[in-house]
Symmetry: C2
Subunit: 265 residues, 2 copies
Amino acid sequence: MLIVGELINSSRKPIKAAIDAQDTEEIQKIAKDQHDHGADFIDVNAGTFVGKESEYMQWLIKTVQESVSSPCCIDSPDPKVVETALSVHQGTPMVNSISLEKARYEALLPVIAGTDIKVIALCMSDKGMPETKDDRVAIAEDLINSLVKNNVPIENIYVDPLVQPISTNDSYGMEFMDAIEAIMTGFPGVHTICGLSNISYGLPERKLINQAFVVMAIAKKLDSAIINPLDKRMMANIIAAETLAGKDEYCSNYLTAYREERLKL
Amino acid sequence: MLIVGELINSSRKPIKAAIDAQDTEEIQKIAKDQHDHGADFIDVNAGTFVGKESEYMQWLIKTVQESVSSPCCIDSPDPKVVETALSVHQGTPMVNSISLEKARYEALLPVIAGTDIKVIALCMSDKGMPETKDDRVAIAEDLINSLVKNNVPIENIYVDPLVQPISTNDSYGMEFMDAIEAIMTGFPGVHTICGLSNISYGLPERKLINQAFVVMAIAKKLDSAIINPLDKRMMANIIAAETLAGKDEYCSNYLTAYREERLKL
């Protein structure tokens, strides 16, 4: 499972404050904590700073990369912000995200075409959010085919079918999970990814829902997630689920996690 | 989710002791605890008492039924024991279990044919334990077709594809889960059930594995389980997973469980 650590996001109050104060130590501590708990990429988002997003994004990337070896996941819907972010990033980042929305797609495609950059492909089009599995798979198909045609290797594409809250429609959980399975089965080599927390919006005990959801999605072949790696039970659930999904030869990853007390909850 | 409470099993030391001592109070306490925590059926097993299994099974059923309204799940591989158990059971029980093993099948079939009894159909034949999804589905198909032909309504059949330990083969989790999905999709009206704990045999932190496994199996359409209903996190996971699987209109079961503090872990 590829883990993107979600914590360095300016929509979270302590992060907004740390960015405002240019608090290098605080940002580096959170980056290091996430890295040490298993994050493969560190998401960086400065989206709440209108007019200063590019500047702060560059600062975040430099700050994070001074402290950890994990590359960043550059999280902005604005292709211009992504481009300036890429100019300071060392190594191969992930970009969060491209979509089928025409303006976003056309502006971001030249930035990633022919590179090694990993890209999250949101199942969103100018028609809005998809409702059903079939809507999601149709958008995914267009995105994958078009990206591959433009020299983005399929192995670098992380399709996010977009989670919607189960509290607004009973079927949103299965529509999402069935989309994951259809995309993973239908496009060999592609990855799937998602931010989880939207699924539990409007319900109590959200962690319980989020933790169960990631485990169910792994049963349906999800292979990447944008999560809080400091949530010990979430990480333990992912390790157990991957073992059960047959992705852990001789249960060796599970047993290593046990010895390192990462399963002690 | 139909829940069979697994605790009253003579292979567990305190239960063996309580049966030995004919300790009515202890058995009734465990029956009531399981009922109060959501068990739809109370499993009763006296299998360790060779020569006395029938007598003790009858005592267990009478003892349990004096204290709770949940019917019993009569748990014995011996058709004679099942038959004497049925003679004292009030209401409609579940029988655990029939299989495709010839002797067992032929002896138990006349006992359940044409009745309202619910029956667990183990995916086991005289060739032994199935290894793959396809082996399981083939046995399930034979069992379902034959039972239905003999006037066992498909709605009363609970297919158990048999869990084998993930520690012995990386693929055993997915072979089981894919069998669940194929059976539920291929035979509308049938149910699937399983005892979970075998999946984690030989591994540490077995509860973590068992809890993740049931959630994954629900994503693959499992609709019944033989578990310990006193395991609060297991029950909370099941409630969350069923909500996410679209089986909880308006999340009302989840919200009720929350109000009753059953999600407080």
